[in-house]
Symmetry: D2
Subunit: 244 residues, 4 copies
């Protein structure tokens, strides 16, 4: 079986300079996630890309060879070039899977694919999160039971401003009193999109076994499994003869 | 403006015999709910009906004069006659609004309209419930802010076996660790359906101001505002001439 | 790879007695469909069942060994026993795929799983039908281009009284002026449901290559690929300790 | 009752210079539509705006006083300024209704709100279109029976690349063999969106009584009926105390 070609994209800002982040992710969040999803399996061929690379590491050539793009970002949203964002969107619409993690809810590709603000409420207070599986027969929850627990995560709360999802996969319970639609799927053109809320930069979530199971499932679910199709207006209008 | 004709249907079993229920609802749950939704407004004309009445109080004539039917039930599901259930379903399909409260998730009309088991997990431990408003611009949440709190309710938890809803209105957070899709809308034919999770027989939920606001909003939302239409196969097949 | 266990259920009434049907399907519609979906592939293990068999051929044992049930029916809907229908529904909710063909829109299992009347308009006038593929990236349309054509089918038209589908797969265009949502998917519990409009008893649709491609795709899509799970109330209520 | 404040936005290019368009719409398409939706009722206060005006006639002040924006465009999509588009999107997300007519399927506001290409197939051959009402109980179809007919329209066909709609309202049948999901609703943030396919510049569709009924219904449906809410990140993170 051919390997799924994954790009782990990380803005790589706080995990370069900020002590409390480096303590958890000394080699960068991208390296940690790459390791987490590749260890012990032979499913994926993973490339890392970061915002400080030329064209943010997402040239047309890179995307032409990408089946699924994972996006983590937090402080650098505004610095991402509109041209690269338009390119990412075009590839998603043509079939590339897109997995937006945590604060990517405010990223340009995510909000522009969905057409909403991505607004939510939040708090950093080390709450425990229980992620309840509200779609136990979806491929993304394979191997996950009725719930899994993250001892500490940034609290996200409703109202989360996203369009009606195709499917609600997880609902997060936070010990401080909030709930959040923590796993949501969307489709845009041929492209499958998964939003997954956990992944705060000062919590060791990228090392959590259940979290990694979900991400690995999501990659396989979002993999188009076919050539990309760049839809556009047909060059020539259709004739009635075409319907014979 | 014409009043909306509401029937509050209650199995009326535990609130007839069981001490801890009678302590909260000495005159029956139906009486409490009727009082709660009619006090201080002139919107509804409310009739009460109970399982012990002939045809459970839901004759064809009663339903012909009902815009919205509210259903509360717990122990008596199996005792509800299939004929009356079929009648209720026929009226919902023709436009009657249907509001299923709490353990009505296992009732015959609810599970047969939805086609699923209505399965959930549950616990009676006096948890506090925070109901988060995940659809702040839906008519059912008018007057409700970002959330409201019930000091004690029976805990319901996921996985809740219902079809994909039209809209998710509330998500409940329980102090013991559960979450639940506590407000959900569905459509069947012309009929609008609202499932609302709170309303346990030993908790004073039917006296809660926010709860009553939601129920009153839901009645207005579910009101068909038009004659019922009993759909069926046309008696006569269509001809091509009908398309001129 | 294990074969998918399929039951082709046919009421087998008109194709036993009616000359114009026997002319098209001399060995019965079930035999024709079985042949059509098994020829040239090794994917399915197909059993035939008909309404005149004991328990309509759908005993608990048969369903225990069925992954996907195909249902064709027209005149005999009322004669199908409620007990067998309840059994079928229970197996669908537990994961069995269910494919409803043509006039099965009025069958007991279909209308009870969906909770609507299944009403539509219709005409027998030998219209040509063009089935447009409105979900070109769905597994059910694999191998189908932008459309396929049936030279003659019974005309079905809107309004089709079904709940909001998970996905709209085909829209049918009829030469006499009608349109119809000809391919629709639904989920009930763990079970996947596909409604597919063509398949009139006096038209040779069961021999059409594109039609058979769609049915074969739908079987693979609806195959649960896992043990059935019969959901029900947990015997024992949950405790807070369960969330640790 | 307060009037709904509507802006009819028209690129106003072909209806300024092109003979076959001017023959049908001598005073411009915006003037025709304004007249059509205001005649004989007192519901709307309609302003016209065109692409050649400063800021395309859609200044922040204008949008602050707009409840529903109607958008017709065809040749000029690329010339619409990104800044104005971002402003329109921000107002839709905050609650402004948005009605996209005909070739607005390729306009910047529509494709950016939806996140898809808006691709479809098309042909100018004077086909008759029959618009079938597939949502007969939706407010947008009030006063429309099972269908209405446009003697000639530009043919649009599937596959139409849009996200899963909230509701499918109309399906169009074209005499040349195509079908199209001709009326679709979406929500983005607080804003309601209606796409309506007919309205070709050389056909007198803006004078059609049924067409105007639908547009007038859609305006009333999309009217937010409340102050706009510009969602964004809360300035201050939430504290646990907020949940008391």
């Amino acid at each position: 079986m051919e390997k799924i070609r994954v790009v782990v994209w990380n803005e790589h800002i706080q995990d370069k300079n900020q002590a409390d982040v480096l303590e958890v992710y000394p080699d960068g969040m991208n390296a940690a996630l790459k390791k987490g999803i590749t260890e012990g399996n032979d499913l994926f061929e993973v490339t890392e890309a970061t915002q400080d690379m030329p064209e943010h590491g997402l040239t047309e050539e890179v995307l032409n060879n990408t089946d699924v793009l994972i996006w983590w970002a937090h402080c650098g949203h505004e610095g991402v070039s509109d041209e690269v964002v338009a390119r990412v969107i075009r590839h998603v619409q043509a079939g590339m899977g897109f997995i937006a993690l945590h604060s990517a809810h405010y990223s340009k590709p995510f909000t522009r694919l969905l057409g909403t603000t991505g607004r939510l409420i939040w708090r950093e207070s080390g709450d425990t999160e229980v992620l309840w599986n509200v779609n136990p027969f979806h491929p993304i929850t394979k191997g996950i039971g009725e719930k899994f627990i993250l001892p500490a995560e940034e609290t996200y709360g409703e109202f989360f401003d996203v369009p009606k999802p195709d499917d609600n996969i997880f609902i997060g319970w936070f010990s401080g009193g909030e709930v959040f639609r923590s796993g949501l799927t969307f489709t845009r053109g041929l492209g499958k999109i998964f939003y997954f809320q956990p992944g705060h930069e000062t919590n060791p979530t990228f090392y959590n076994k259940d979290y990694l199971t979900v991400v690995k499932n999501a990659i396989q679910w979002a993999n188009p499994g076919r050539e990309k199709v760049f839809l556009g207006a047909p060059w020539v209008p259709k004739t009635i003869e075409d319907n014979k």
